[in-house]
């Protein structure tokens, strides 16, 4: 017999529910005054107790959500999911918001907590995603210049214990685990990808894929974010460098197209 679901809420989720930062309403007057567009995404039914509506002020030239608020008549799990979702999509363009996944919301609700998100409540995360989908669908046609995604802050978590003692394969496996959980989901929001090419001592070589290959941030901000996460979560001596040969050949092949 499991304890009541509230007792299994992760600490972060409780903290979110204690202070709902994004509950509220945005009006068309506010949008007009700031020369922005007001967009809304709605799901569910009040009658069923799962109604939610996200309001967003969007930049008509960049497609970026500058402010997000939500209204809800729903359970605490959906309200918590909506609150972190609004916080996450604020500052991103609607195409990036479209790629938000359940794993990201779950991570935002559980980071630094010892408990995981209660399994039986995961449908609420899906409802929050559907609400974002309804919002982004209403933004179709707004231009979106490609801007790299600002990365979330690195959460302090336990490093891999005894990393030095592991074999190369085990080290790569440990690094892959952190990449899969903390790096890849955020890069995928920009239609990018990342793979481990090699590990020599503490030097990790990574290969970019998708939109990352043509993004200047892949050897700038994104790279330093990846290095920071891996230093924090795997080993402080780890150095990350991109596979420059692969990048160069890609640049050349793209240049030859013009």
């Amino acid at each position: 017999m499991k304890p009541f679901v509230w007792n299994r809420y992760p600490e972060k989720m409780c903290a979110v529910l204690k202070e709902l930062k994004f509950a509220g309403l945005l009006t068309s007057e506010e949008a007009e005054a700031r020369l922005l567009l007001l967009k809304k995404g709605e799901i569910g039914e009040k009658m069923l107790g799962n109604w939610a509506k996200i309001y967003a002020l969007i930049d008509p030239n960049e497609g970026i959500f500058l402010s997000c608020r939500y209204q809800a008549f729903a359970d605490s799990a959906l309200v918590a999911a909506l609150d972190v979702t609004c916080g996450f999509i604020e500052g991103k363009n609607y195409l990036q918001a479209q790629r938000i996944t359940g794993e990201i919301i779950e991570q935002l609700l559980t980071e630094e907590s010892s408990e995981s998100f209660p399994k039986e409540l995961k449908e609420h995360i899906n409802l929050a995603i559907l609400c974002v989908d309804a919002l982004t669908a209403s933004c179709e046609g707004i231009p979106t210049p490609s801007t790299p995604l600002p990365m979330p802050g690195v959460s302090a978590a336990g490093r891999v214990e005894g990393f030095e003692m592991l074999s190369k394969e085990q080290k790569i496996k440990a690094i892959e685990g952190v990449i899969a959980q903390d790096i890849r989901p955020f890069i995928e929001l920009d239609q990018g990808g990342i793979e481990i090419k090699d590990l020599t001592g503490y030097k990790l070589t990574v290969t970019y894929a998708g939109a990352c290959t043509s993004c200047p941030s892949s050897i700038g901000g994104t790279l330093s974010y990846i290095a920071k996460v891996l230093k924090e979560k795997v080993h402080p001596s780890l150095d990350v460098e991109p596979d420059l040969e692969a990048l160069a050949s890609l640049y050349e092949s793209q240049a030859s197209l013009y």
Partner: protein, 418 residues
């Protein structure tokens, strides 16, 4: 602060300094007096074992002593309930009672007994229950349904049972009417005198569960004369697990499992004197606090209602019939009850939404004719005896604080009607 608020345990999740339990609708912490009475029956000389009725049967004189205590305790319970004066001059018609492991078991025992002793014998196979009854009423009968019984569920309207619907469902094949006297979550009473009259006129067995009613409302057993009375003793603060089943002299009762001569062969399994003593004390305590609950707590409830009514977004869910004096159902427009209850729990105030053995509060309120969206805002509180005015004020302050914090979720309704 008064005595009910207690410092809360340290937790990373919740930061409230005190906590107040207003959710003791179905169970409460055991009373100190009940535990002491139970402890006094544990025989430490005999390696601390419980005194069971038939331990050492025929081997020593202890048995007679324990049996005497057992019978004395049962008589005391019958007396505390006021059942001793019903019947003949010297003998009550309610002299037979069994201690069960829970209120749910007692209810199940009644249903199964009626099935085996009457339904199978006579062919009368209909049972009438309320659609809004607690889970044990439904689950016990669901087990018997494949064996051929027909469960008739009576609708409840605003307040209580729909008497017309009830009467129309009483047929010559009805063997049993089984219902709780009060609804624990809303506190509404059923018109039991009228129901009893109809049952007696048709020779239908009547079972009432008084778990939510004892010590909180006057029960006129003389008029009702139910065939079976059940009680969940943990709701009264008895050591648990414990429940009680009292039957009228001529009502049939058979054991669910045979094999133990304890309790006149009506229930297998050891009959624990310490638990029975605890139940006796808890029942006495409930009856003794009748005045306090119906006068002082009822007054506090009225005060609380008055204070809460200052908020224009408040909704009260009340029945049109007699209500338990310590139960109040309310909600705030546009805030779902589950979210509100969770936010209150973070502040150290615990309220009920139903669940476990009790029905879901929102469904219960909807069955009383309230719009379902509105019913979903409801939470239920049961005011404990001994709540001080400062504790009540603290609770009101926290309730308003939480409601104000969550109000931001319902601005669309105020500014942009849908």
């Amino acid at each position: 602060m008064g005595r009910l608020l207690r410092p809360r345990h340290k937790s990373k999740k919740r930061t409230a300094l005190f906590e107040l339990f207003l959710d003791q609708h179905g169970e409460r912490a055991p009373l100190q007096e009940a535990l002491s009475a139970a402890m006094a029956c544990i025989n430490f000389e005999r390696r601390g074992t419980y005194e069971n009725l038939f331990s050492g049967l025929g081997l020593n004189c202890k048995h007679a002593e324990v049996l005497n205590k057992w019978n004395f305790s049962l008589k005391a319970i019958v007396q505390h309930l006021g059942l001793n004066i019903i019947g003949e001059v010297d003998e009550s018609i309610y002299s037979s009672a069994i201690l069960t492991s829970s209120g749910a078991e007692a209810i199940c025992h009644v249903h199964q007994s009626v099935y085996f002793s009457e339904m199978r014998e006579t062919g009368k196979n209909h049972v009438l229950i309320l659609s809004s009854s607690p889970a044990p009423f439904h689950s016990a009968l669901a087990q018997l349904e494949p064996l051929g019984i027909v469960i008739q569920q009576v609708k409840t309207t605003v307040g209580s049972i729909d008497l017309e619907d009830f009467e129309s469902k009483l047929t010559p094949r009805t063997a049993l009417v089984s219902l709780p006297l009060h609804d624990a979550l809303i506190g509404s009473a059923e018109p039991i005198e009228k129901i009893a009259k109809m049952c007696h006129a048709r020779h239908i067995a009547l079972h009432i569960d008084i778990s939510a009613s004892l010590g909180r409302s006057y029960i006129d057993f003389e008029t009702i004369r139910p065939d079976y009375i059940t009680l969940c003793a943990k709701a009264l603060g008895a050591p648990f697990p414990s429940g009680l089943l009292i039957k009228k002299k001529d009502a049939n009762l058979m054991p669910l499992i045979s094999g133990d001569p304890s309790q006149s062969g009506l229930r297998a399994g050891g009959a624990s004197l310490p638990i029975l003593k605890g139940v006796e004390v808890a029942i006495k305590n409930a009856q003794d606090s009748f005045y306090e609950v119906t006068m002082e707590v009822a007054h506090q409830k009225a005060m609380l209602k008055q204070k809460l009514a200052r908020n224009e977004r408040i909704l009260f869910f009340e029945s049109s019939t007699e209500q338990l004096p310590d139960v109040l159902c309310f909600g705030f427009k546009g805030i779902k009850g589950e979210l509100f209850a969770h936010a209150l729990s973070m502040e150290g105030i615990y309220v009920s939404l139903g669940g476990m053995n009790l029905p879901a509060l929102c469904q219960l309120i909807e069955s009383k004719g309230v719009d379902f969206a509105e019913a979903q805002t409801a939470v239920s509180i049961r005011l404990p005896v001994g709540l001080s005015e400062s504790e009540l004020d603290w609770a009101v302050e926290k309730i308003f604080e939480v409601a104000e914090k969550l109000e931001g979720l319902d601005r669309a309704n105020q500014e942009e009607p849908r």
